[in-house]
């Protein structure tokens, strides 16, 4: 039976949330403008409205999860994003795989942040919550799913499958419910995809807070006061957004096979740009707190960071990127709505800023070259230019659509070599930023003139030159660009470390946030330089075999073909592909496919032999074996060095009916490098095209060749029972015992021959790994000969790509240190707020 109740609850909650967000916005507006006497009433009313809105928002999330969790495939969302085979933690990923779910996630975070703000900062409650509620109204409208005439507002996640898809089955049976959903995109079946989207959306949601304080500040003419509460939230937002970006990069590194962690894909750029602007904004806000300058730049940067988040949303969700991005969402026809959302807040922000611009205090005094304000300002400008350089080419598809919507033709395409194109600029900007952070920190903590600056910098400078020299020689960095990167990064690490030790000695750890974040930056730069600049593809064809005598042999073949069991040289390793495996729940190691017999049921197999790992038997022959995601195959590749076994890697690949071959890498982690490998093509042995029969007549003890394999026929054996075939009196069953030698592996193939009266039955053996089918066709007792018919297909193989990524751990360490730096800075500002609150200066 179709359960329409939960969908109706969800839909009602959406409408309720939409209406209450508008009421809350109006009520908080009234609260802000009415005379003091009426305020308590309006405040109570506004809060109740927001609480109802919160409950409705939580109900939306609950209803959608209920639909996914209980496999209610009568709903389009569950049908298209989930399936029976999914474990619970991936059902959470299904929740936000679709656009609607990710909007709900965003709505959810905004509600949580709104509740926190109401509790902590009562002074700003009115104006801030007006902005919050308006944003909520726009977000909820994206999942409203209301159609008025030709106008469709939002796309509801609670739509029934029969209303979403026009399939003939629904005419026969309107209550038809599919037995299974189409499943979650296999690339998202990864633990990082369970935690990356919530983090990123918390980052997105939290950029609203500094923006809301700013808009509130402008509207209520508190031109300077907004900075105090906005700063810790801006830092929080940059920290979470940064963490989200890093998690995304790490997810890409461990699940995607483009060979790295960052690809300058439009979707990645769209998050990177607001983050840069937000970081620039944090720096100008800190400057303002210290010296009352840079207020206007802070205002511009905070507005820009929020609008860029909306722009990112527009890029990713409107379908405008089309072919130019690997992971944009499918177009739901929301582009107009998204555009209005962005333009509305852009217009409001520009209007308010322009209206109050001349009242915003500025310092007339020209910033001195030896002042920190000057250097911070240069730093913020560099960050803004960095963002500009990325957002401009990323927007090429938008530019094309604008030209086309006015009837023009624009054939500009994004740069072909994305990575090279962006790196060319970002690298030098990053060097400048690193140098500025080093010098800037000295200005920050000391009064400087030319002489003291020189004295202060001499020692860190000498140390960093020495350390750089060591890194350059040890890491064989002989490219002039990279040498400069090393110098700049080491300089920022050394200079900031010097400041850090001094700070800890003199005062508290609380002030160390900046230096820590900057040390992290230096490490990230070095790690990126080594792991990307010096990454090396080692899976080149080293067999010396030339397949076709043409120009293409001169091309670098970046993949290597590994036949099963055949040792192949990959740089210093000898790699041997050993076959496919599955992940079995409860067994600590992967289990070879040849031990498992497929069944009709999802994620279940029958053990063909005892499954034993390190002496312990986990399953016995004939047991039902639970498989974790049965579509996933793990290709075991053993690596040897000078005949000594080193390690195995098991890159994963999934043959997905909807998306074809999905491939995830497996890496060997060393302290100073990663060996990163993934499977780029596999043998398809469903439905093989068998070649023509080859017939062999052999006597027991003979040796012959089956498809290049040395085969020994040991002899026949009369059987008293045959698995799967009941034997009657007078039946004769004989099995032939063949041993096939493939490199160091010996396989037993035992085809069976049954005689029942005048009839003959043959049970051939198929070995998919060797790609052979052997049938015992006849027995000639007079000559003591057995006749075998052999069909060949193809030995199993994988095509592998292997890349060495040096010093990638420095990059990960850098990101962690930077995040710690942010946390320390947030704590410091929060502590400040608490002390002010206790003194009654803030409430």
């Amino acid at each position: 039976m179709i359960n329409t109740l939960i969908g109706n609850i969800g839909h009602f909650a959406v409408i309720l949330a939409f209406v209450t967000s508008l009421i809350t916005a109006y009520a908080y507006y009234q609260y802000t403008v009415v005379p003091e006497l009426e305020k308590p009433n309006w405040r109570r009313f506004s809060r109740i409205a927001f609480y109802i809105h919160s409950i409705a928002s939580f109900a939306i999330a609950f209803a959608l999860f209920e639909i996914i969790y209980n496999h209610r495939f009568e709903y389009f969302y569950a049908y298209s994003h989930s399936s029976m085979a999914l474990p619970v933690h991936y059902m959470i990923s299904s929740f936000w795989e679709g656009q609607e779910g990710s909007f709900i996630l965003w709505i959810f975070w905004n509600v949580v942040l709104g509740l926190v703000l109401i509790q902590t900062n009562k002074k700003w409650e009115g104006p801030v919550m007006v902005v919050f509620s308006l944003v909520q109204a726009f977000l909820v409208s994206m999942i409203l799913g209301v159609v008025i005439g030709d106008l469709k507002i939002g796309s509801s996640p609670f739509i029934l499958l029969r209303d979403a898809v026009n399939a003939p089955i629904f005419q026969l049976n309107p209550d038809f419910i599919p037995e299974d959903g189409t499943g979650l995109n296999p690339l998202l079946q990864n633990i990082w995809m369970v935690i990356h989207p919530p983090t990123l959306f918390l980052g997105y949601a939290s950029t609203l807070i500094p923006f809301a304080f700013l808009i509130g500040g402008l509207a209520t003419r508190k031109y300077t006061e907004w900075v105090r509460p906005a700063l810790p939230w801006a830092q929080f937002s940059a920290m979470i957004l940064g963490m989200g970006i890093i998690m995304g990069a790490y997810w890409a590194y461990v699940t995607l096979n483009f060979g790295g962690y960052w690809n300058w894909d439009p979707v990645e750029n769209a998050v990177y740009v607001p983050w840069l602007i937000l970081v620039a904004g944090i720096h100008t806000m800190i400057t303002f707190k210290k010296s009352s300058t840079a207020l206007k730049s802070s205002i511009v940067l905070i507005i820009a960071s929020f609008i860029l988040v909306l722009y990112a949303t527009f890029l990713v969700r409107s379908g405008v990127l089309g072919d130019s991005s690997v992971h944009s969402f499918t177009d739901l026809g929301l582009s107009g709505q998204l555009l209005i959302y962005m333009l509305f807040f852009l217009a409001v922000a520009i209007f308010l800023a322009a209206k109050h611009w001349k009242h915003i205090p500025t310092s007339e005094k020209e910033a001195d070259v030896y002042s920190r304000e000057f250097w911070i300002f240069i730093g913020a400008t560099t960050l803004a230019l960095m963002a500009f350089q990325v957002i401009l080419p990323t927007s090429i598809p938008v530019w094309n659509s604008i030209v086309e919507s006015f009837g023009g033709i624009s054939n500009i395409a994004p740069p072909v070599d994305q990575v090279g194109f962006y790196t060319k600029f970002q690298l030098w900007f990053a060097v400048v930023v690193a140098l500025l952070t080093a010098v800037g920190q000295y200005f920050w903590w000391n009064k400087m003139d030319a002489k003291t600056l020189r004295e202060a910098l001499v020692l860190p400078y000498i140390i960093s030159v020495l350390v750089s020299a060591f890194i350059i020689i040890a890491g064989k960095v002989f490219d002039i660009t990279y040498i400069i990167v090393v110098l700049a990064s080491v300089f920022t690490i050394v200079a900031n470390a010097t400041i850090l030790t001094r700070l800890i000695k003199k005062s508290t750890f609380k002030l160390a946030g900046g230096s820590l974040a900057h040390i992290g930056l230096g490490l990230i730069l070095i790690g990126t330089m080594f792991s990307s600049g010096y990454s090396e593809v080692i899976s080149q064809n080293m067999s010396g075999l030339v397949y076709s005598n043409s120009w293409e042999d001169e091309l670098n073949k970046e993949h290597v073909l590994l036949w099963i069991n055949k040792p192949t040289q990959i740089k210093e390793y000898t790699a041997i592909y050993r076959g496919r495996q599955k992940k079995v729940s409860g067994v600590p190691e992967l289990v070879p496919v040849k031990y498992l017999q497929e069944t009709d049921r999802v994620n279940e197999a029958i053990a063909k032999a005892d499954i034993v790992v390190r002496g312990k038997t986990y399953f016995q022959k004939g047991d039902v074996v639970p498989i974790v995601l049965e579509e996933n195959d793990y290709f075991r590749i053993d690596y040897y060095k000078e005949d000594e076994f080193q390690f195995s890697l098991n890159p994963m690949s999934q043959f997905n009916t909807a998306m074809g071959l999905i491939s995830s890498p497996d890496s060997r982690r060393f302290v100073n490098r990663d060996l990163y490998t993934f499977v780029s093509a596999i043998n398809d042995f469903e439905d093989p095209e068998w070649r023509d029969d080859e017939v062999y007549e052999v006597a027991p003890g003979d040796t012959f060749f089956i498809a290049d394999f040395v085969t020994n026929f040991e002899g026949g054996e009369v059987l008293t029972e045959v698995e799967g075939v009941p034997l009657f009196d007078g039946d004769v069953a004989v099995k032939a015992k063949l041993t096939v030698q493939d490199y160091d592996v010996e396989k037993r193939l035992e085809p069976i021959f049954i005689i029942r009266g005048q009839q003959v039955g043959r049970i051939p053996v198929v070995d998919t790994e060797l790609g052979v089918k052997v049938e015992l066709t006849n027995i000639v007792p007079e000559e003591n000969k057995f006749v075998f018919t052999v069909n060949r297909y193809q030995k199993d193989y994988v095509v592998l790509k292997a890349i060495i990524k040096p010093q990638i751990n420095i990059l990960w360490a850098g990101t962690i240190i930077m995040l710690i730096g942010f946390c320390v800075a947030i704590y410091r500002r929060y502590d400040e707020f608490k002390k002010m609150r206790d003194k009654g200066l803030e409430y």
Binding site: P168, I169, P178, P393, I396, N556, E558, G660, L661, V799
Partner: protein, 138 residues
Amino acid sequence: MKKGHLLGLGVIAVAIIIIISMIGDASTYESFSTAKKMMLSGDEKPIHVVGELKKADNGNVEGIEVNPNKTSFYFMMVDNDGTEQKVFYNEPVPPDFARAEQVVVIGSYKTEDLFVADKILMKCPSKYQENDLAQAGM
């Protein structure tokens, strides 16, 4: 001149460099015939060509030749103007390649007869199709 002005000029200069470099490095969408003209006139800049795989009358994709080491292949592509072209790609056949509704090849002509793709983008049929639904349900 004040420092602020100098700084402003510097920012404008960098912004102009960024814009010029973007225009210089941006690729374009071409057809095979315009791409060939570009190659003949000595312009080797990689470009984008949008089209489909060549299909036989029965709808099956034809003309895919995988090299024996399986790490590169040739295929036949028809661009939006209907021009047929043999294309080489120095990577294993992308999964699902034959099912692609639309392909974008990014690269340039190597000789007059052969287009070499540096990168291929594919648009695959949407995940939710009516006939799929029937299969999933049965």
